[in-house]
Structures are given as structure tokens and as C-alpha cells.
């Protein structure tokens, strides 16, 4: 029996649930992970990643010394360097001075528009706050974004438009107070496993009813009263038809609509044509199921809607989310316990990174960069001369890479993200990455994106630094330093402050912002002074249990559910939306709809999980294909297949399974050797700029086993 040297409480770095952890450490090794049973978020339960997935900390491939590329890279001819002999080990001084020199040179030559940064939804609030502050105050650029653009941008925009807020309205644990919940576009059991447990308990032990709307037969379907197997991208007709039924059968909440909403009359007219018959013709879902779902949702006492990326990741993602918001506004299932509109956030800190201003259109706290009053406020807070901050909206994640060209974006700093896995249409992304003039990567491993960099800044892992994460239900929780950083790795906030000091000196500006932070606690305090929702979040208050934002002052207890009295924009607003088909529909040449997503065992681009024993559980990519389709194509289980779209081709194994419906295939996004995003389409939602990951057309042909990509040894032991 091993006696731990210490047991350190912290927060899980994987998904947005924000499970509380205890790291058991012996001789600086995390040999066991437990969770306190009294933890309000997860009650001692964890998933496989949370309990076993931390060996990446010690992986031999982890970079723990600053690196500079041996061969100078020129825009247009930039190459990937995975091998360590293509890099020179350097001191921190050299790495940061080099980064400073190159960035300042480009900034002084080409101006603010040439500078761009990807912040990181895995890093802490403090890390993100500082990095966006660096680019805003020193380079006067708003080209700041992170992967929220690729996940819930559509939901955020729709919620902002309709309600004026953009987070989960309720707490996931409240699901046991729901009589009915509707889960759509979410494979909750695999992507938010602990919230799925609460949902299963609500069904099994508390008598709740579950409606699943999803083109895949995800595990939650096993717990559902109704499953509506829609075709990908047909959410607007389906949910608008539910609204149509609710209006026609007068099941709406008259009182709520009168008191809390606007635009109801026009909305009724706008959904006149969304009959269940019309929705059936488009979505493939039996009209009676749609009618039944509408009645169940409208007549429940407390009904909640939970959704993940199946809703926003479409070229009409904002409309999709809006069609869900309409249902809640019609029925008044919002602003009470056990109800609400709940977008399940993917990354551990995607809520926090957005709150901390890692966004191109907003300062921290969603204060718009193009509003004079908020710009003035931040100029004062950051000690910038009046008019100094850039008032123009910055570029979003996908736009940053598309704008890489002479006269456009020239220098890119990537903290912890991996666009070479996570962007749609990767062949295009590759081309754009090759055009960057200067690229700095700040990460744990040389991933597909970092391999393009000029300089690599080795960051401390989440177990090696202090900070806070904000989880999907807006709870700000502590991340604690359990280990000393490996080698020379440094915490992101320290790297950023050090870099900022050097850049500031080189630029020689008159006025300087504050960078001499001694701890992340001080960073959060500065953030609390400019973000009213975080004003009362102090380290001293969240040592034991996190607080749910908004926390308006030092005595405010936090906010478990939002909108009890009113919406931030006043009245909830109905919008006139119409069905727009996905950009690419199946045809004779490309007859299948490809949809993409995550697996239980892996995490996004795989930088962490594919450097972990988790890779043993699910070691290679597989395409999920329905038995009926497989029989028609004469494809057997585990056989190699070649999957092509108009943009790329991958070869991978087939998994013949009823997890997916006829005509729809699924590829997980984690595997670089058969990257799903080589196939996906880079069509964007016009409002939210989110790409259409969830629907593109592909064709599938049998292939030989020898055509399968070789087992990737890079990233494994």
C-alpha cells in the first residue's frame, strides 16, 4: 500500500463538467486519482479520462526546454518539424527575446492587423486574461479568439440575440428536478459523462422523461422515452414544427409570453408553414413523434433543454439554437429550477476563456470592443492612452487563418490549441499555416500545429500551476499546483507576463500596463475589477467550493440559475427563422452525410489523450456506418475503407454499428492519421462564423488493409 506524500485537490482538465479531483502523489508521480464524494459537481464520480488520463504529464515526448527551429522558416515554405533534431534547445531568455524581436518587427512593419493569437480553452482564466491583454494593449489587435468559435459560437450568438446572455441558464445537477428534458446534438454519455449520470439518475430514480433528438443512436437513447432520429442539419424544421404544434394546440404559456417576451404574434405567423408534415419530409422523423415530443415538452411541469455541438456546428447553427430558444420562450421553461436552455460546454474552461475576453469582438465580460464606453473603460483599467485600444472587431478563429497573406495576418501565437486538427478542411488549413511569417507555439507537446512553429515555449501542465477554470454551469473552481513543472517548463501566466515585459520594453511605449503579477490570484483580482460578473470571485472564497457566476460582490453567494426575474436584454425575443439546407447535401457522387464528434476515451485534437494510456482503449480511427449501408457497400466490420469528400480523403477501419442511422456516417475527430477534418467543409454560419462540422457529403469505398495509415508511434510510448 502506497502512502502518498501529499494529496492535492484540484479540478479536472478535460471536459466542461469540472469534476473535482484529488491527486495522490508519491515522489512527484500522480499514481492515483480520487474525487471527494461531497463534491457538488460530480459527487465522487469520474470518467475514464478524469480518473486515469494523466500520464501525459510524464510522457517522454513532452517538451520541457524552450526550442527554436534550426532551419529558418519562410512564409510559403513553412514545414512541420516533429523530430527534436530539427529544433535547437535554447534558454528562456533566448526564446522569449527571439519571439519579442520577430513579433515587434512584424508589428512595427505591418501594424496591428498583422498580429493574431489563439488563446486556449484548456488554460486557466488567468492565462487567457493575460494573453488577450497582451495582444490588446501591446499590439493593439483584436485578432484574438479560441476554439469556442468552433464549438458553441452559434449557441452564444443566438442566446445573446434572444436573451442577452450566453451561458448555461441552469446547473446540470438540477436535472433531477426536471420532469422532462430534451437532449439534442449531444452524445452526453461520452462527452459529458458525469452530467449523463445525473440524467440517467433523473430517469431511473426520479421518474423524469427524456427526449433525444439526434441522428445517431447515442447511449442516452437507451434511457429515452422518445428518440427522434433526424437527418443532420434539419433542426430548424424539426424544432419549429414542435413550436408550430405548441402554438396550434394552444399549449404555450400565455402569462410568460405576455410578461417576459416580445415578437410572439409575428413568430406565430413565421412558423405557419412549419407543419409536422413539412418537418417530416425534411428531417425524416415521423410526424407523430414530433407532435408527441411537442406535447410532452409543453405540458411538463419543469422541462429543460440540453444541447451540445450538434446544434451550433452548422452553417445555420445560430438558427438551430434559436429554434430551441423559441421552445423555452413559448412554454416558459426557463428561469426556474430544473428548466432552462443549457448549452453543454465542451472544454474544461471554454466558458472561462470566453468570460476572460479571449474573443475578437469582446473585452473580458462580453463588453464590446466597438462600443466607445467599454473601450474607454479598459483604456483606463489597463493604463492606455485615450483612443489607444483598437475599436475594430477582430478576426475569428477560422478567419485568422484565412487572412494569412501579405497585408493580412503575419504573426500568430498559439497557446495550447491545435488548429491543424480542429479546423475544418485541413488541407486548406495546412496551406494557410505554411504561409505564416512567424509562428510561436506554447504547449506541452509538439502537435500538428506546433510542428509548424519557429519557436516552442514549453508550458506547465494543469497539475503544475495555480489558477481557476470556469465549468459549463458557470462555476469558477480552483486549479492547484500539485507538482513542480517538468524540466524548464513554466506556467502559461508566467510565460505571458515575461513575454509582455520584453515586448513592452522593445516597443518603448510611454504608458505601461501592469504585468508584474506575483500570482494568478492577483490576476483574477484585476479581472474582477473589470468584469462585474467576477467581482466577488476571490481565491479565498473558492478554496473549498467554487462559486457560480455572476458573483456581483464579495458577499454575493453566486447564481445557480439565471433569468428568474428577467433576461439581460429585458424581454426574450422571438425571431423569424427559416430552414436553410446544409451547404453540402448528399448526391449521387457523394451519397453519405458525414458527421463528426468526440469519443469517451479521447480528447479533441488528441494532444493529451493520445499521449496517454487512454490511447490503448481506443487506439485507431474508425468510421461508424449503419449495417444496412455496410451491406449495400459490401463492407464488413473492421474492414479498411476509403472515405472521400470534395476536399480530402482518409483511409480508416469501418465499425458496422447501429449507433448511426442509414445514410449517416460518423468519424471521431481525434486521430491525426485519419483526420476527420480533412473531409469537413469550411462553410461558416454567417452570424457566428462557426464551421459546419456536423454535415458534409462523402463517398465510401472498400480499401485494402495495406492502405491503412501506419500506426502512429509519435505520441505513444
Amino acid at each position: 500500500m502506497i502512502a502518498p506524500d501529499r494529496v492535492v485537490p484540484t479540478t479536472c482538465p478535460y471536459c466542461g463538467v469540472g469534476c473535482n479531483l484529488e491527486l495522490h502523489i508519491k515522489d512527484d508521480y500522480v499514481y492515483k486519482v480520487t474525487s471527494p464524494f461531497e463534491a457538488v459537481v460530480n459527487h465522487g464520480n469520474l470518467c475514464v479520462k478524469g480518473r486515469f488520463g494523466y500520464d501525459f504529464i510524464y510522457n517522454k515526448d513532452r517538451v520541457t526546454t524552450p526550442l527554436i527551429r534550426k532551419k529558418a522558416q519562410a512564409p510559403g515554405a513553412r514545414t512541420q518539424a516533429f523530430d527534436r533534431d530539427q529544433w535547437r534547445e535554447v534558454s528562456w531568455d533566448e526564446a522569449l527575446d527571439y519571439t519579442t524581436d520577430r513579433m515587434v518587427e512584424i508589428y512595427q512593419r505591418d501594424g496591428a492587423d498583422a498580429m493574431a493569437v489563439y488563446c486556449c480553452a484548456k488554460a486557466t482564466n488567468e492565462d487567457n486574461y493575460l494573453l488577450q491583454k497582451l495582444f490588446r494593449t501591446l499590439f493593439r489587435s483584436n485578432n484574438i479568439d479560441h476554439c469556442t468559435r468552433l464549438c458553441h459560437a452559434g449557441s452564444v450568438v443566438a442566446l445573446q440575440m434572444a436573451l442577452g446572455s450566453s451561458a448555461m441558464s441552469n446547473t446540470a445537477a438540477e436535472v433531477i428536478h426536471s420532469d422532462l428534458f430534451l437532449v439534442t446534438g449531444s452524445n452526453t454519455a461520452e462527452t459529458h459523462p458525469i452530467i449523463a449520470l445525473q440524467m440517467k439518475a433523473a430517469v431511473a430514480n426520479h421518474g423524469a422523461k427524456l427526449i433525444v433528438v439526434d441522428p445517431r443512436r447515442v447511449e442516452m437513447v437507451n434511457w429515452a422515452t422518445l428518440w427522434l432520429p433526424e437527418k443532420p442539419g434539419t433542426d430548424v424544421p424539426l424544432f419549429s414544427a414542435m413550436a408550430h404544434v405548441i402554438v396550434k394546440e394552444r399549449l404555450y404559456n400565455h402569462d410568460f409570453i405576455d410578461r417576459r417576451t416580445e415578437g410572439f404574434e409575428d413568430f406565430c405567423k413565421s412558423i405557419e408553414h412549419f407543419t409536422p408534415e413539412y418537418a417530416e419530409a425534411i428531417s425524416g422523423v415521423d410526424r407523430n413523434l414530433i407532435i408527441q415530443a411537442a406535447r410532452m415538452y409543453a405540458t411538463a411541469k419543469n422541462a429543460a433543454i440540453y444541447w451540445a455541438l450538434g446544434i451550433p456546428e452548422h452553417s445555420h447553427g445560430t438558427d438551430n439554437a434559436m429554434s430551441l430558444i423559441h421552445l423555452a420562450l413559448l412554454t416558459g421553461h426557463i428561469g426556474r429550477q430544473g428548466t432552462g436552455l443549457n448549452p453543454l460546454r465542451g472544454q474544461n474552461n471554454v466558458q472561462g476563456a470566453s468570460d476572460s475576453g479571449a474573443m475578437p469582438w469582446h473585452y473580458p465580460g462580453y463588453q464590446r470592443v466597438d462600443e466607445e464606453a467599454s473601450a474607454r473603460k479598459f483604456e483606463q483599467a489597463w493604463n492606455i492612452e485615450p483612443g489607444g485600444l483598437n475599436r475594430r472587431l477582430g478576426l475569428t478563429t477560422t478567419e485568422i487563418l484565412s487572412e494569412v497573406r501579405p497585408g493580412g495576418v503575419r504573426a500568430l501565437h498559439i497557446m495550447g490549441e491545435n488548429p491543424m486538427m480542429s479546423e475544418p478542411n485541413l488541407n486548406h488549413t495546412r496551406h494557410m499555416m505554411e504561409q505564416v511569417e512567424f509562428l510561436a507555439a506554447q504547449d506541452l507537446f509538439i502537435n500538428e500545429s506546433g510542428a509548424y512553429a519557429d519557436v516552442f515555449l514549453p508550458a506547465a501542465s494543469w497539475a503544475e500551476k495555480e489558477g481557476t477554470f470556469t465549468n459549463t454551469d458557470r462555476r469558477v473552481q480552483r486549479v492547484r499546483k500539485a507538482l513542480e513543472p517538468r524540466g524548464q517548463a513554466r506556467a502559461d501566466w508566467e510565460i505571458i507576463c515575461d513575454l509582455a515585459g520584453r515586448i513592452e520594453k522593445k516597443l518603448g511605449r510611454q504608458q505601461t500596463s501592469f504585468w508584474a503579477f506575483r500570482s494568478p490570484a492577483e490576476v483574477l483580482e484585476e479581472m474582477g475589477r473589470v468584469v462585474p460578473e467576477y467581482a466577488g470571485v476571490k481565491y479565498s472564497r473558492i478554496e473549498k467550493q467554487g462559486l457560480q457566476t455572476p458573483v456581483w460582490d464579495d458577499n454575493h453567494p453566486g447564481t445557480p440559475y439565471l433569468f428568474a426575474e428577467s433576461f439581460p436584454r429585458g424581454r426574450g425575443k422571438f425571431y423569424d427563422i427559416d430552414y436553410v439546407p446544409s451547404v453540402e447535401m448528399p448526391d449521387e457522387e457523394y451519397p453519405f452525410i458525414l458527421t463528426t464528434g468526440r469519443l469517451l476515451e479521447h480528447w479533441h485534437g488528441g494532444t493529451l489523450t493520445r499521449h496517454s494510456k487512454l490511447d490503448d482503449l481506443y487506439p485507431h480511427a474508425r468510421i461508424e456506418i449503419n449495417p444496412a449501408d455496410a451491406a449495400r457497400l459490401k463492407i464488413e466490420d473492421d474492414q479498411a475503407v476509403r472515405v472521400s469528400s470534395r476536399r480530402g480523403t482518409v483511409v480508416l477501419r469501418a465499425w458496422v454499428t447501429q449507433r448511426t442511422t442509414v445514410g449517416v456516417v460518423f468519424i471521431p475527430m481525434h486521430f491525426a492519421e485519419a483526420a476527420a477534418n480533412l473531409l469537413t467543409i469550411d462553410a461558416l454560419d454567417p452570424l457566428a462564423k462557426i464551421p459546419e462540422y456536423k454535415a458534409c457529403a462523402v463517398r465510401i469505398l472498400p480499401a485494402g488493409k495495406e492502405e491503412l495509415p501506419p500506426t502512429v508511434t509519435r505520441g505513444r510510448y
Binding site: 500500500m1 464520480n45 475514464v48 486515469f52 430514480n205 482503449l617 487506439p619 465499425w655 454499428t657
Partner: protein, 233 residues
């Protein structure tokens, strides 16, 4: 719910109806010993270490399950309960490896259990099951407390990968048809590892470290687990 007043070890206490004797005693600061009971699992009264004596009731009652009633007189420590607890500990100790169950070890000392009382007892000796990359199962240490089965089922995970198997002395925890874990519905959440009181379930990393394998060797070990085959629904 209305409050119920009862007497525990001579002290009077009022608790809501439906409270267990165990929780009512905790109100008075009296700690009834428990082994299979876990605050976050359904209580089943399997191990019987928590038995108490109730006036007018002939058998000893498990405190973890029995609900209070008005005027009840409970004794948490009597000659009968002490003898019963001691015997339970002696029987457990005679058959199961309790070396990694410090709480039970402490009870053995507290209750003066005679570790040589059943010298002829057959020990439960089963090989360690090491069939997946995440955790090992060493059922020689299993006291059949049922926690792992319950958290795998309706207490937490709703996955139903493991259950009791066999009868009598051969009762154990197993998978359906004794399949290796990767071939079952197991999702490797390790909820079972989290509630195991005796070290029978343990993260593989921890087990290897105990065997003296260095952490570097553990990390470099070739990929071990069998290929995962997920069942179609």
C-alpha cells in the same frame, strides 16, 4: 416529515422519521462501526458489523438499514453486539486478505478479535485479474461489500458491467460469462475503484508501483490492454 424521538445509549435524540439508527447515532456523536456501508451508496446491511441492540426486538438490527421509531431504545454497544462484531471480524480475517483495509484492521484491534480463532479456515485465494490498461482486480482482498457493483449500476454509473457470481464460499464479483473487462459494457470510469474499501480494485499504475516497477518503466511499457470491442446496441 415529523420528528421521531428515541433513546440511544441512554441519551434522547429527535430526528426526522425515516432516519436510520446509524445516522441518528451520529447526531449524538456516537460512531457505530461500518464496513460495507458507504455514505454515497445504497445501504444493504451485508456485513452486519453495524448491528445494534433494540429493546423488545430479539435479533440484532443493522443500524445502516433500520429506521428509527418513536420511543425506540437502542444500545449501540452491548455484550451481544460486541461478540457479534468480533466474530464477523474474525471470520473476515480468516478468509480474506485485509492487509490493505486499514479501517478493518483498526476494528480488529478495537474489538480484540482473535486472529487465530479459525485456524482451519480456507482462505479465498484467487489470481489477480489484470485484463485492461486502467485497473487491476485482486479478489483475494474482496470482502463482497457490494459497493463496486452498486456504483457500476444504479448508484452512479448505470453501466452494469459487474455483479455477484457463484454461491456460498465461491461467491465473488465478476463479469457476465467471466469476460475480460474490455469485452464488457465497462467504460473504465473507475467508480468501482473509488469505493473499494480493501484495495481489491486498484489503478494499474498504483499496483505496478507497489510491485517496485519504476514509474518510467510503467510509462514506457508497451501498450498492454486487449483491443477494445464495443458492442453495437
Amino acid at each position: 416529515m415529523a420528528d421521531v424521538t428515541l433513546t440511544i445509549d441512554g441519551s434522547s435524540v429527535s430526528v426526522p422519521a425515516g432516519t436510520t439508527i446509524l445516522k441518528a447515532a451520529e447526531r449524538l456523536g456516537r460512531r457505530v462501526p461500518t464496513i460495507c456501508y458507504h455514505d454515497y451508496c445504497t445501504a444493504n446491511g451485508l456485513c452486519r458489523i453495524c448491528v445494534v441492540e433494540v429493546d423488545g426486538v430479539k435479533p440484532l438490527l443493522p443500524a445502516c438499514l433500520s429506521r428509527v421509531s418513536e420511543g425506540m431504545k437502542v444500545s449501540t454497544s452491548s455484550v451481544r453486539t460486541e461478540r457479534s462484531r468480533r466474530t464477523i471480524l474474525e471470520m473476515l480475517d480468516s478468509a480474506v486478505d485485509l492487509s490493505e483495509a486499514p479501517e478493518i484492521q483498526k476494528f480488529i484491534g478495537d474489538y480484540h478479535a482473535d486472529r487465530a480463532r479459525f485456524p482451519e479456515a480456507e482462505r479465498r485465494e484467487v489470481p489477480v485479474r489484470d485484463d485492461n490498461p486502467m485497473y487491476i482486480r485482486d479478489y483475494a482482498k474482496c470482502i463482497l461489500c457490494w459497493r463496486c457493483v452498486q456504483v457500476c449500476a444504479d448508484d452512479a454509473q448505470f453501466t452494469y458491467a459487474i455483479n455477484f457470481k457463484g454461491r456460498g464460499f465461491d461467491t465473488g464479483i465478476g463479469t457476465f460469462f467471466d469476460k475480460p473487462m474490455p469485452e464488457t459494457s465497462c467504460v473504465f470510469c473507475g467508480q468501482c475503484v473509488g469505493v473499494c474499501p480493501t484495495g481489491a480494485l486498484k489503478s494499474k499504475r498504483e499496483a505496478l508501483l507497489e510491485q517496485g516497477v519504476s514509474f518510467d518503466e510503467i510509462l514506457q511499457a508497451t501498450r498492454g490492454g486487449k483491443k477494445r470491442r464495443r458492442k453495437s446496441p
